[in-house]
């Protein structure tokens, strides 16, 4: 039988994240959502405690955690606020291409100074004309001597307006489709790198999302990760690593929705008794807890698979896709449990639905996840 118990180390990591989520994040979640404020003081505190660069090895100043450890932390943070969690873990996504594709010299040059102080980084893949079809990206990288010149535009980039470091995917030749894509580490201070303003979003409003324009931005060849044409594979391998924590993030949102719904159902009276005593509500709660339990176990299994050294493409796609669909469904049922109050912004559950929605879209839309799952599945039958 597999062992589902956590080690004392994992328990204490989870305790740390839970305490931070409850004391530092939760009290500000509603206000940051209402005003779409980017609560950078919270992200600074998260950095101080070691919660932002979770996947970076300790030799470069990160926390050096495995996938399961990261998931335990992310679920706790997301229980307090999905949007803040997205901004807190965006560094993991942005730095993963350097971890996977960087030389030892590049890792030391980029990661060590970055992790030595508070800072945000962004993963810049998506473009206005397409996200899931990454092979069609249009941002150009033209080689000129010892540097590349970048031109183009990225959009929906988490933390872009506030980040100091970007991992950027551009093509050296659009004709070559996937085989032209190349990854670069780009400092925000580079001339011709123009981050845009924050987008106004439906959910994840404490997070920041924006465009980055490149207008003749000169990036040294020494900042290229891997060879020309290796960027697409690097992006996909990065997402294999970072998709699983999105499953954990969705699970945290779902758990928060259930916690609110269950507590409310014990207090709210109708027809002379708490609504928790009505079978209609009991069925909702039972379905919600089943979905959450399955989402958590699929996420843990995907993380465990990755921690064993496997790529985990199938497992992480299943976890992300299932958990995010579960989060949306559970948040929906939480609103229904609250009835009219659930639709009001004075109550916490409508935010959870808006936050859950994004988990079905970002880090690979669930349609793409399903096509990945089917591809991996059919491979076994061919």
């Amino acid at each position: 039988m597999p062992d589902f118990s956590l080690t004392p180390e994992q328990e204490s990591l989870r305790d740390l994240a839970r305490k931070f989520a409850r004391t530092e994040m939760a009290p500000h979640a509603a206000e940051a959502d209402r005003t779409a404020r980017f609560p950078e003081e919270i992200y600074r505190k998260a950095y101080d405690l070691g919660l932002t660069n979770l996947n970076v090895p300790t030799e470069y100043g990160g926390s050096g955690l495995g996938a399961l450890d990261q998931c335990l932390i992310v679920e706790e943070l997301a229980h307090a606020c999905g949007g803040m969690t997205t901004s807190i873990i965006a560094n993991c996504l942005a730095l993963e291409p350097i971890l996977l594709g960087g030389t030892p010299e590049q890792k030391a040059r980029f990661l060590t100074p970055f992790c030595a102080q508070y800072g945000l980084a962004s993963f810049a893949l998506t473009e206005p004309s397409g996200g899931s079809d990454a092979g069609a990206l249009r941002t150009r990288a033209r080689r000129e001597g010892d540097h590349y010149v970048l031109d183009g535009e990225k959009c929906f980039i988490t933390n872009a307006p506030h980040a100091g470091l970007y991992t950027v995917f551009a093509t050296v030749d659009p004709e070559r489709r996937h085989k032209g894509i190349t990854a670069f580490v780009v400092s925000r201070s580079t001339e011709g790198v123009l981050p845009g303003k924050d987008e106004e979003k439906m959910g994840h409003r404490a997070s920041s999302t924006g465009t980055i324009r490149f207008e003749g931005a000169k990036v040294p060849v020494a900042n290229r990760l891997g060879e020309e044409g290796e960027g697409f594979s690097l992006a996909m391998r990065t997402l294999d690593q970072t998709r699983t924590p999105i499953g954990a993030l969705a699970t945290g949102i779902a758990q928060a929705a259930l916690d609110h719904a269950a507590a409310y159902s014990l207090k709210r009276q109708s027809f002379g008794k708490p609504i928790a005593q009505h079978q209609a509500i009991q069925i909702k709660l039972a379905n919600m807890v089943q979905a959450i339990h399955a989402a958590r176990l699929l996420t843990w299994h995907a993380a465990w698979t990755i921690d064993q050294g496997a790529r985990g493409t199938l497992e992480s796609s299943i976890a992300k896709c299932f958990a995010s669909d579960a989060a949306f469904a559970v948040a929906d049922e939480a609103i229904q449990t609250f009835g009219g109050y659930g639709y009001m912004k004075d109550y916490p559950v409508e935010k959870l639905l808006r936050d859950a929605k994004l988990t079905q879209i970002y880090e690979g839309a669930n349609e793409i996840q399903r096509s990945v799952i089917a591809r991996e599945l059919l491979r076994a039958y061919e």
Binding site: P8, E9, S12, L13, D15, L16, K19, F20, D48, L49, G50, L51, T58, S63
Partner: protein, 260 residues
């Protein structure tokens, strides 16, 4: 300066408590024990002193069974304590605070200590007796309800305040002392992730419970029960604010008898 901070593993504040099957004590089954409340303030005070007095060392000491005492000590090490001593009670320890003070005093006699810090009371039973009993057993002065303890190096005395709901006093005294700290006056720090991971590998000195002296306790807890549930809140129905105020005043006067 050798600082000892005594910490008690107490149930996490959100735990649902229940009596053990024999009805005598709290059922420890499934309870998560943590460092919390007054003891967190005591650890914070120890670390503040360590940071202000060069060459100081802080040793955390806890009495209890495995794994709860060891886990609480690791939490203290993650916060910055230099070393930890676990007095292994083996089975469920006596809940008598004076028994706890005896175990601590017997152990502290062989540990260097210029200053012994405790929470002024435990976060669970709130007995508030250990610091006082420990002072008596060690034969040193003890003070409770203390905030803002400092070391005056020029005069070799500790200065501190005693803060209660009704008074504030200022004191000074040379060491060694036993001090019971007030809660949350010093905004206890949170352990950082790398320190938490490091604390998992820190050595914990395990020592046996000291042999009981001539005055060993003969007390025994007989029952443990939770307070009865509180009566429900009274909802006042109204149509206008004036009516709400009128009805509230009536309830406060006639039912709650808050004023005549």
């Amino acid at each position: 300066m050798e600082i000892v901070v005594c910490i008690k593993p107490v149930p996490e504040p959100e735990t649902r408590l229940r009596a053990a099957p024999d009805g005598r004590i709290l059922d420890p089954e499934g309870v998560k024990y943590v460092l919390t409340g007054y003891d967190e303030s005591a650890v914070e005070q120890a670390l503040l002193l360590k940071e202000s007095v060069p060459g100081s060392k802080v040793r955390a000491v806890s009495f209890g069974p495995s794994p709860r005492a060891e886990e609480t000590l690791r939490a203290a090490v993650a916060l910055g304590c230099d070393s930890a001593t676990w007095i292994d009670s083996g089975a469920e320890p006596s809940p008598d605070p004076v028994d706890v003070a005896r175990a601590l005093a017997g152990t502290l006699r062989s540990l260097p200590h210029d200053l012994v810090l405790c929470g002024k009371q435990a976060g669970d039973d709130e007995a508030g007796l250990v610091a006082g009993a420990l002072g008596e057993l060690l034969g040193v002065p003890d003070f409770g309800y203390v905030v803002d303890l400092r070391w005056d190096a020029a005069r070799s005395v500790f200065t501190f305040h005693r803060m209660t709901e009704t008074l504030q006093e200022s004191w000074e005294a040379p060491g060694p002392l036993v001090i019971g700290l007030q809660q949350a006056w010093n905004d206890p720090r949170t352990a950082k992730l790398p320190a938490i991971l490091k604390s998992r590998k820190a050595p914990i000195d395990k020592v046996p419970v000291p042999a009981p002296d001539a005055h060993a306790s003969r007390s025994r807890a007989t029952t443990f029960a939770l307070p009865p549930p509180r009566a429900g809140a009274k909802l006042i129905e109204y149509k206008t604010p004036e009516e709400a105020a009128e009805r509230l005043v009536k309830v406060l006067r006639e039912e709650a008898k808050v004023f005549p």
